[in-house]
């Protein structure tokens, strides 16, 4: 089979040793020839051993959270990103977007060298020297008339950029979509602190989210998830309750124990009413009293329900209320944020679960950008430099940024990709990818993450920092003072200064340790004492006003994987389904079942959405988690540039939105008319039938039962479902030991003296369904992305998939909730797939795995038919030749065979990691230790829901987890003896 797979894997990696740059610190002769020859290093780099991974600590730049990453490199190629356990924000975890950064590095759509626009509008390549000379001259001429737009990330580079611009007298704007402007305004108003606090979800005993998707797209999702899992999960024997208020359930909403489907834009009323109740409970004054009755009238939520939740909120100490997402992106959102601040004050959460010490980074807000674009129109900008920002795409067309940009005579972009903005520029100076350059990031006070190049650049690009310095030297004048020989040197000098601040004498040692640990993780300075409730500014709630006509309110929200569109050029993020709707590769519009019935619309029917500002045609997705009278469209697609993967795919929801008013882009501002076009396109959804049909797949038990330590069966019994009685003891006894017997019988494969039995436990009360594990699995196991047409035929190869089953919501009015369950090969001890394989390609390994020998497989597919969990995936086409266009194939994990067509594949419990650990253990004459390694999914899981290990070792974590009373096996009744134990979700039954 391998002979059919040209994709670059272990073997080919060896042959490109010469191309191996030897990572950060090694100097190497770099011949990039890729012939089928053995090409040795010229100089053997110290930190590279062929066949052995080298890890570098760095910092993720996919969003402004600035998580720490460990980059796994092999033969000088980055092959996987994992979280840096030492980093205080993400503690070793990484979200899908962060992991997919790798596909940015090797993206075929990257600009391969500097380019300038020719007369006829096309781009032509040029040398770096000429490019820099050109820019220098232009900057020299422009002087103070230089404008700069950059991303919101803070760090040495963005400081340099600021100083550089300041030296010229130009103006710099740090901007990114969803920049939390209202939240900052509110914080200024209430606390006099212009910044973003850090929210401690772990501490909270009761959480209310007003539209904030804190598990997925809001502030620091990984950190929030970890905290949420701590408080809401059942690990500590208790579970905090989470209530979500908003017109549309996002991933956070789906994880909530209660959903308040408030009318869009009325969250503030709810918050104020709750504040009044809570304040009353606590005997505190409240600046702006607001009655529950009024709130009920505004939001459409029954008064008693509001009352109840408010009291529950008050009773729990400490609790936490957050506002964000779309709710914080409309005309009344500053009021909302103020109201929520007051609510937190009233409940006494400020200083407890809301800490301003953190001071999370953010940009300058849209107002600043508006100012700059005004200047651009006014002709005060003759050179515009755009860095890590794509305003032409990410702003509504009605903002007319493209036109304003055209007014600028000379436009420069450092973008890695030819996106909507850079394609309007005159000079392209492609930036190094974050994994190829030096920089650091200061996402919050006390945390400074370092970025170091982990490999030689893939293309002829340069770090924007070096470009700035070189331009400074060329242009001279005010810029002459930037005389560092390289940005690396500049960065180093800053860190030496930092060392001095820290009172470190030995700057070299300081630098080395920082480099090793991935940065400097100190304590945040003490927080300013939060202002009291009394001093809190009063706030007036005003009902939301939506422009335009049409019977629906339009919600435009950030896609959980593509976010504001920056993920749209990465196949992993396109094929990994949206965790809420489970749709891949294209856009959709969500409408409620009731609305769908009224308009007689089914999934996939193309609807025409028309506002005063534009019209779009999008396939419908009937979604029980959205209020009637509201339709929602995700951002992220509809690119007109940005590489082959993104271009011409889906629609850009921003086309429906009016120009930003005031300080921020309002994603919830307009009404929309919805009409059927009669068109149809099958939704590229990975969901089959999203109901459990009483099959007990994703199980749950009420908190009370869990606290009593009941098993599922007992819990059901209590609820009076005798039919859920388990088998009589003797039957259980009779069934026992199938896998054990099979396991003991094996005589081969005695790796470490004693056979382990690999097993896994997945805690559904911690799992949030974020799908970081899925992306990790794609990255670790060389899983090809098959594209929309194949997903439409259900042929995606997600070894690990997240099934999302709806509970309730079948009749109108009945509350709906979701259950997530990660489904992967269960490595059954009594596996149905094994006996039916005619060639032993599927067989049981001595260490309790369902082996899958790709090169033995002839492709009868009987195993897949006979797999009750349907976790076996077939290579219908030569996916191995389609999925990784050069140079994307460089991302492939050299330890894992790339499967050819006609072969069955499936989860192997990351056998390459198992064997790797066993090899190492054998070299050191010791057994494999528990926790020494884990599977890619378990490693990535932000909420630590997955535990992997040797179930035979009684001291192992997984063995302990399997003893949990909540433990159960999916489809236990068919006696396949799975090695994966699920721990039932713990729910808060809603009374009344």
């Amino acid at each position: 089979m391998s002979d059919e797979s040209p994709s670059l894997d272990r073997r080919r990696f060896l042959t490109v040793l010469g191309a191996a740059g030897g990572g950060a610190l090694a100097v190497s002769g770099c011949s990039t020839s890729r012939v089928e020859k053995l090409v040795p290093y010229l100089v053997q780099s110290e930190d590279q051993i062929p066949g052995v991974a080298t890890w570098y600590a760095s910092t993720c730049t996919e969003c402004s959270t600035g998580c720490g990453v460990h980059v796994r490199t092999r033969e000088g190629r980055a092959v996987k990103l994992e979280g840096n356990p030492e980093h205080p924000v993400n503690k070793g975890k990484l979200c899908s977007r962060g992991q997919a950064s790798l596909q940015g590095l090797y993206n075929p759509g990257r600009i391969k060298s500097p380019m300038k626009r020719t007369g006829n509008g096309t781009f032509e390549q040029m040398s770096w020297d000429n490019a820099i000379a050109l820019l220098a001259s232009k900057v020299g001429e422009a002087g103070a008339k230089v404008g700069v737009i950059s991303g919101a990330g803070r760090g040495t580079f963005s400081d340099l950029l600021a100083e550089w611009t300041a030296a010229l007298g130009g103006r710099l704007v740090r901007w990114e979509p969803f920049d939390h402007e209202p939240l900052r305004a509110a914080n200024k108003q209430v606390f006099g602190a212009d910044g973003l606090p850090s929210y401690d979800f772990a501490k909270a005993k009761y959480i209310v989210s007003f539209g904030a998707d804190f598990l997925d797209t809001w502030l620091a999702p990984i950190e929030n998830q970890r905290g949420f899992a701590e408080s809401h999960g059942f690990s500590d024997g208790d579970s905090a309750k989470m209530v979500y208020a908003g017109p549309r359930m996002d991933l956070t909403g789906l994880n909530a124990d209660e959903w308040l489907p408030v009318k869009p834009g009325t969250e503030a009323a709810l918050a104020l009413a709750m504040a009044s109740v809570v304040a009353a409970e606590r005997g505190r004054p409240v600046p702006t009293p607001y009655t529950v009755a009024a709130a009920s009238k505004e939001t459409g939520i029954p008064a008693e329900r509001i009352e109840r939740i408010a009291r529950e909120f008050a009773a729990a100490q400490p609790s936490l209320a957050v506002a964000g997402g779309v709710a914080a992106q409309h005309s009344g959102s500053t009021e909302l944020c103020v109201a929520v601040n007051i609510l937190n004050l009233a409940a006494g959460n400020v200083g407890e679960t809301v800490n301003f010490a953190g001071d999370l980074g953010s940009g300058d807000g849209y107002a600043a950008l508006a100012g700059l674009s005004a200047a651009m129109v006014g002709g005060q900008v003759s050179v515009l430099l755009v860095h890590e920002a794509n305003p032409v795409y990410a702003l509504p067309k009605t903002a007319g940024f493209a036109e304003k940009m055209k007014k600028v005579p000379f436009k420069v972009s450092t973008s890695m990709f030819l996106d909507e903005t850079s394609s309007l520029c005159d000079l392209l100076l492609p930036e190094h990818h974050a994994l190829e350059r030096w920089d650091d990031a200061a996402p919050r006070a006390g945390v400074r993450g370092l970025m170091q190049p982990v490999m030689e650049p893939v293309f002829s690009t340069q770090s924007a920092g070096d470009v700035l310095l070189k331009v400074a030297q060329k242009a001279g004048g005010a810029l002459a003072k930037f005389n560092a020989p390289s940005f690396q040197a500049h960065l180093r000098s800053r860190w030496d200064a930092l060392a001095a601040e820290q009172g470190q004498k030995d700057t070299e040692a300081f630098w080395r340790s920082a480099l090793q640990r991935g940065g400097l993780y100190g304590e945040a300075p003490a927080a300013p004492p939060p202002a009291g409730l009394a001093t809190a500014a009063p706030v007036a709630y005003s009902p939301p006003a939506f422009e335009g006509s049409g019977d629906f309110v339009l919600v435009v929200y950030p896609h959980s994987l593509l976010h504001d569109g920056r993920g749209a050029n990465k196949p992993w993020l396109l094929e990994n389904a949206d965790p809420v709707t489970k749709i891949t590769w294209h856009s959709w519009v969500e409408i409620s079942p009731a609305t769908a019935k009224r308009l007689d619309v089914r999934d996939g029917e193309i609807l025409k959405l028309a506002t005063a500002h534009g019209a779009l045609e999008v396939p419908a997705c009937v979604y029980p988690g959205i209020a009637d009278g509201v339709v929602a469209v995700p951002l992220g697609l509809g690119h007109t540039a940005y590489g082959a993967f993104a271009q011409g795919r889906g629609v850009n929801a921003l086309d429906l939105i009016g120009p930003p008013k005031g300080d921020f882009v309002s994603y919830l501002s307009t009404r929309v008319a919805v009409t059927k076009t009669g068109g149809y396109r099958k939704l590229a959804s990975v969901a089959g039938v999203p109901r459990q049909l009483g099959r007990g797949i994703a199980e749950a038990m009420p908190l009370a039962a869990a606290k009593k330590g009941l098993t599922l069966a007992e819990a059901y019994f209590e609820e009076g479902h005798p039919e859920h009685e388990t088998n009589p003891e003797r039957e259980v006894e009779a069934l026992k030991g199938w896998s054990e017997a099979q396991h003991k019988a094996t005589k081969y494969g005695n790796y470490t003296g004693e056979h382990p039995q690999w097993g896994m436990s997945i805690d559904l009360s911690r799992c949030t369904g974020c799908q970081a594990c899925v992306t990790a699995c794609y990255a670790e196991n060389n899983i090809p992305t098959v594209g929309e047409s194949e997903v439409l035929r259900g042929r995606e190869l997600t070894w690990m998939r997240l099934e999302r089953y709806w509970e309730g919501g079948e009749e109108p009015g009945e509350p709906v909730s979701a259950r997530f369950i990660p489904m992967l090969c269960q490595h059954c001890g009594n596996a149905p797939c094994e006996p039916v394989c005619p060639v032993y390609a599927a067989y049981h390994t001595p260490d309790g795995l369902n082996g899958q020998v790709y090169n033995r497989c002839v492709g009868t597919r009987y195993c897949a038919n006979n797999c009750p969990y349907k976790v076996r995936y077939f290579n219908w086409y030569k996916y191995n030749e389609m999925a990784w266009p050069e140079p994307l194939n460089l991302q492939l994990n050299p330890d894992v065979t790339v499967r050819a067509r006609g072969v069955m594949e499936k989860c192997t419990f990351c056998i390459q990691r198992i064997r790797g650990a066993q090899n190492q253990a054998r070299l050191e004459d010791r057994p494999v230790l528990d926790g020494e390694f884990t599977t890619a999914c378990a490693q990535a899981c932000p909420s630590d829901a997955i535990i992997f290990g040797d179930a035979h070792d009684p001291k192992s974590r997984v063995a302990a987890a399997k003893q949990d009373a909540r433990g159960y096996h999916v489809l236990e009744e068919i006696n396949v003896r799975p090695a994966v134990t699920y721990l039932a979700k713990v729910i808060h039954p809603v009374e009344g």
Binding site: R795, P832, N866
Partner: protein, 453 residues
């Protein structure tokens, strides 16, 4: 000469010719082909080429062109495989079992049905190769010594299949070829020129001496005895491909007898479909008569009724077991997205076959022909429903999906009919499609006219 009735065959079968007539008539079928025949042959070859091309594309790009939609990992190809294996069975039943039971009415038809068996199994044998993901290493399913110390997995029903089909092909081929010898000899004596030379060879020096006849009859008897158990075993093994899996809708103890009955039923359908036009085309109406069809129809009715019972039983067990997986499967089989397939099978098999209670229908060739077509369609759909609709909704609702067959599926299906038709037509034109010597056996010795004293 006066019509005589053969004592052993009862009143129905009228033999109106002399030995010479029989030979003449049968040999006549081997004369220069008519335009109609050629037309049929060419269309068969055409279809076969369609299949061949499709297969080429599948090998080049992978199975993706076919409509496979997980969780449906088997679909049209396996359906067609089972269909063709089934077809074979009627042939063996008629030629071997009825021979052992000395039932004379088989004589006129058994040769053609036997040929049908061989070619049907030849067709079926292709599918295990066509449907696998890496066709070029299909031989890994065979146990052969190799330096890798690897053996196939004898626990796998697919391996049982390999052996079952292999045996069936060998035995039925031997049976056919052996049975041909005397007839080929008869033909040899009639034809001239280069054809004579060929038949000379094929008749392996048959002289029709008593000695040869004695050996021949013995051997034929033994071969018949050898073939008989295969009627039951082969399709039982095929049924275990499904019965031994845990897929709801497959996992049934009733499968073996159910499949065997179905196989014979479908086989009889095919026999009728082939013979009714054939006898006209070859002008042998007087040899294959109403009487034969009446009997074939009765057999069809019998097996059809067994199917009726099996279907009913499947639904009953699903309900009675209280197993929600089974229940869902059978509910969706009748009322799910693929309801049309489910009902096609139920209408075409049990119900249509019940029409054969009426003698009028049994003896009306047009009606029989129409019914036989229904049977063929129905039985193909039976396999389609069992395979596809069971797979499309098994244990985890999240993984459910519906199959949409594509050109690649239909291409291979058409090809299989072309391949079968091609061989059958060639056979019919080059070998006596009616067993000469067995017909002769039924003709009474010519009586002596009153002689002089």
């Amino acid at each position: 000469m006066a019509a005589v009735t053969h004592p052993s065959t009862g009143p129905q079968l009228e033999i109106t010719q002399t030995h010479a007539d029989v030979t003449r008539d049968v040999v006549a079928t081997l004369e220069r082909p008519s335009r109609g025949y050629l037309l049929l042959l060419f269309s068969a070859v055409g279809l076969f080429l369609v299949g061949l091309t499709t297969f080429g594309i599948l090998v080049k790009d992978g199975l993706g062109h076919a409509g496979y939609t997980p969780p449906v990992f088997w679909s049209v190809y396996i359906t067609t495989f089972v269909f063709w294996v089934g077809i074979g069975h009627a042939g063996t039943l008629i030629s071997a079992i009825l021979f052992l039971f000395r039932s004379p009415w088989r004589t006129a038809v058994y040769r053609s049905t036997e040929a049908m068996t061989v070619f049907a199994v030849m067709t079926a044998g292709l599918f295990p190769i066509i449907h696998i993901g890496r066709q070029w290493i299909f031989y890994w399913l065979l146990p052969y010594p190799n330096q890798r110390y690897l053996w196939p997995n004898f626990k796998s029903p697919l391996l049982w299949d390999v052996f079952a089909i292999g045996t069936y092909l060998t035995v039925s081929t031997t049976f056919l070829v052996f049975g041909l010898i005397p007839d080929v000899a008869a033909v040899r004596d009639k034809v001239t020129g280069w054809r004579k030379a060929i038949y000379e060879m094929a008749s392996v020096g048959w002289q029709g001496t008593d000695n040869q006849w004695r050996h021949y009859n013995r051997a034929y008897l033994y071969l018949a005895a050898l073939a008989t158990p295969l009627v039951l075993s082969v399709h039982s093994v095929v049924s275990w491909d499904f019965a031994s899996a845990i897929v709801p809708g497959w996992h049934g103890t009733i499968f073996a007898p159910y499949f065997v009955a179905g196989a014979i039923y479908s086989g009889l359908g095919m026999v009728l479909t082939l013979i009714i036009p054939l006898r006209r085309a070859l002008r042998i109406e007087h040899m294959i008569t109403e009487y034969h069809f009446d009997n074939l129809a009765k057999l069809t009715l019998f097996t059809g009724s067994i199917l009726f019972y099996a279907y009913a039983m499947e639904y009953f067990i699903a309900w009675y077991s209280g197993n929600i997986f089974e229940q869902t499967t059978f509910f969706r089989r009748a009322f799910g997205p693929q309801w049309w397939a489910g009902w096609t099978m139920i209408v075409c098999n049990p119900f249509v076959s019940q029409l054969l209670w009426f003698r009028k229908i049994r003896t009306n060739l047009t009606a029989l022909f129409v019914i036989s077509i229904f049977v063929n369609i129905g039985m193909w759909f039976e396999r389609y429903v069992i395979i596809v609709s069971s797979l499309s909704n098994d244990y985890l609702p999240w993984a459910w999906g519906q199959l949409n067959p594509t050109w690649a599926d239909w291409g291979i299906l058409a090809g299989s009919f072309g391949w079968f038709g091609m061989w059958f037509l060639l056979f019919a034109k080059n070998f006596p499609i009616v067993a000469i010597q067995e017909i002769k056996e039924m003709i009474p010795m010519p009586r002596l006219r009153g002689g002089h004293h």
